[in-house]
C-alpha cells in the first residue's frame, strides 16, 4: 500500500474493515450499515474508487467497532458477494473472511410476489434458498418463485 493511500483512508487501531468492494457497491453497503442500530454513533470512514490489482477500482469501509452482527454481514453478502471483512486489533489484521450469501436466507429479503403468503400473513418470516449462486438467483420457499437477489428489497 502506498503512503498516499494510507493518508486518504487512515488506519484504525481496532475495528472492522470491509475491503475488496467492487467500485460502486460501497454506497449500498453503507446504506446497510446506516440501518444497523448497533452502529449508531459509531465512526465509519468510507473511501471510493481506490486502485486495486484485483478489481481495477474498489471501495473500502472502516468501522470503529469490534464486531458486526450476523444479520448485517448477511445483508452485505447479498448486496456485494465476495467482499472481504477484516477484523483489526492494534493495527493488525487478526481475522479475514470473504463473505458469501448464505444458502438459506431467513427474513432477510421481501418476496416480490403479491400473492405470496409471506406478503399476506403478518409475522411470517420469509425464506429464500440460493438456487443459483453464479447468477445470484434465489427461490422463495413459499410461493416457489425465482428472483434475482438484486430485485428483492431487504427486510430491516
Amino acid at each position: 500500500m502506498s503512503d498516499k493511500k494510507i493518508q486518504m483512508i487512515p488506519k484504525i487501531r481496532s475495528g472492522i474493515v470491509i475491503d475488496h468492494i467492487p467500485a460502486g457497491d460501497g454506497v449500498h453497503i453503507l446504506e446497510i450499515l446506516e440501518r444497523d442500530p448497533a452502529l449508531k454513533n459509531v465512526p465509519i470512514t468510507f473511501g471510493m474508487n481506490y486502485q486495486s490489482n484485483k478489481l481495477g477500482a474498489k471501495d473500502m469501509l472502516k468501522i470503529q467497532k469490534d464486531d458486526l452482527c450476523e444479520r448485517t454481514i448477511q445483508h452485505i453478502s447479498l448486496v456485494s458477494p465476495g467482499v472481504t471483512i477484516k477484523r483489526i486489533r492494534d493495527f493488525e489484521v487478526v481475522e479475514k473472511v470473504s463473505v458469501q450469501p448464505p444458502h438459506e436466507m431467513v427474513n432477510l429479503l421481501r418476496c416480490l410476489n403479491p400473492g405470496c403468503i409471506t406478503q399476506n400473513e403478518p409475522g411470517l418470516k420469509t425464506r429464500f434458498i440460493l438456487t443459483d449462486p453464479k447468477k445470484n438467483l434465489v427461490t422463495c420457499v413459499y410461493c416457489e418463485r425465482e428472483f434475482s437477489i438484486h430485485e428483492l428489497s431487504p427486510i430491516v
Binding site: I117, E121, Y142, E144
Partner: protein
C-alpha cells in the same frame, strides 16, 4: 416424520412412482375392504376458496376409505372471516383431526401450514403455485392408458403461459424422461422460457405451433386447457384466437388410434361435446382417477400399505 404433500418439486421420480403404484393397488381392493382402511380417522378439509370438484373428490376419497371429514367450503362461512389468523385456524383444526387438506388463494399457504402443524398437510391448490394432486392424477391417467410414461409424445394446448396444471405436469413428465413436447398456443400465451431450460441431463425438444391440427397426427396425448378471456388485455385478440384452440370430433378423424384427450376440467368450449363419444375422450375417466389417486395419497399419509 409426517408425510406432507405440498409441491411436486419435493418429489423424486421414485416418490411419484410410489403414488402411482399405490393408486393401481387401490383399484384392486374391493369397496368393502377399502372401507376398513382409514376407520376412525378424521380429515380436515379447509377450502379457503371454493373449488367444488377438488373438494368433493378429496372428501369422497376419505369416505371411501372409511374415514370422516370435517371442514368448510369457503372462507365466508368461517371464523376466518371474523379476522382469525391463519395459524390460529390451523392450530384449532389440528386438535380435531388427523390430516389437513388445504386449498387457499395465496401461494405458499400449504407450506406454511405444514411448518406450523404437527399434522400431515396435503396441498389442494395454493394460488397460482402448486396443485400436486392434479399432477399425480394426470400422471396416473397417462400410465393407466399407456403402461409407461417415457417416450410418449404429449401435446399441450391452450393457455401454456399461466396454466399451473401444464407447468407442473410438464416438469413431472421430464422427471420420467419424456424428451419431446408439442406446444400449441396463441403467441401471447406461449410456455415461459424458463420452463424449457430445466436441467434434465438429456436434451428436450419443444415443437411450437399455433395450429391445433398439427397435434392430432403427432400426439399420444393431447392435454387441453381453457383459454380465459381475462388473460387478454385486448378483447379483439381473444375473439380472434378463441376458436382456434377448440377441439371437435371432425378434427379427430385423422387421429392415431391410441390418442387420448385429457383436460383438468371444468371445460367451457375448448372441447366440443361431440368429442365425448369418441374413443379418444379420456377426461371423465381422468376425473374418476382423481378419486383413486386421492385415496392413494391419503393411504400414503397414514402409512397404510395395501
Amino acid at each position: 416424520m409426517k408425510r406432507d404433500l405440498i409441491s411436486m418439486h419435493d418429489l423424486t421420480a421414485e416418490d411419484i412412482q410410489l403414488y402411482l403404484d399405490t393408486a393401481a393397488r387401490v383399484e384392486t381392493v374391493s369397496l368393502k375392504d377399502r372401507f376398513q382402511l382409514l376407520q376412525g380417522k378424521i380429515m380436515a378439509s379447509l377450502f379457503f376458496e371454493a373449488s367444488t370438484r377438488t373438494r368433493l373428490s378429496f372428501e369422497a376419497a376419505m369416505y371411501r376409505l372409511g374415514g370422516n371429514v370435517i371442514g368448510f367450503a369457503e372462507q365466508a362461512a368461517t371464523s376466518v372471516s371474523k379476522g382469525e389468523s391463519f395459524s390460529d385456524t390451523i392450530h384449532t383444526v389440528e386438535s380435531y383431526s388427523d390430516v389437513i387438506v388445504i386449498r387457499h388463494p395465496k401461494e405458499g399457504t400449504s407450506r406454511h401450514a405444514s411448518q406450523i402443524s404437527y399434522l400431515p398437510v396435503i396441498n389442494a391448490g395454493d394460488g397460482t403455485n402448486q396443485h400436486p394432486t392434479q399432477t399425480l392424477l394426470d400422471l396416473y391417467t397417462i400410465i393407466k392408458n399407456f403402461q409407461k410414461i417415457e417416450g410418449l409424445r404429449i401435446a399441450f394446448v391452450g393457455d401454456l403461459k399461466y396454466s399451473r396444471t401444464v407447468h407442473s405436469l410438464l416438469q413431472a413428465l421430464m422427471k420420467f424422461r419424456v424428451n419431446e413436447f408439442m406446444l400449441v398456443s396463441p403467441d401471447s400465451l406461449r410456455l415461459p422460457e424458463y420452463l424449457k431450460r430445466v436441467e434434465t441431463g438429456f436434451p428436450v425438444t419443444f415443437v411450437e405451433t399455433k395450429d391445433l391440427e398439427d397435434a392430432i397426427p403427432y400426439a399420444d396425448i393431447i392435454y387441453m386447457t381453457r383459454i380465459q378471456r381475462e388473460r387478454f388485455p385486448d378483447q379483439i385478440e381473444y375473439e380472434k384466437v378463441k376458436d382456434a384452440f377448440c377441439l371437435n370430433a371432425g378434427m379427430l378423424k385423422k387421429a392415431p388410434e391410441q390418442l387420448k384427450v385429457l383436460h383438468p376440467l371444468p371445460r367451457v368450449n375448448e372441447i366440443a361435446p361431440d368429442v365425448d363419444d369418441t374413443p379418444h375422450a379420456e377426461y371423465f375417466r381422468q376425473a374418476k382417477n382423481g378419486l383413486i389417486m386421492r385415496q392413494a395419497i391419503l393411504l400414503n399419509v397414514f402409512e397404510v400399505t395395501i
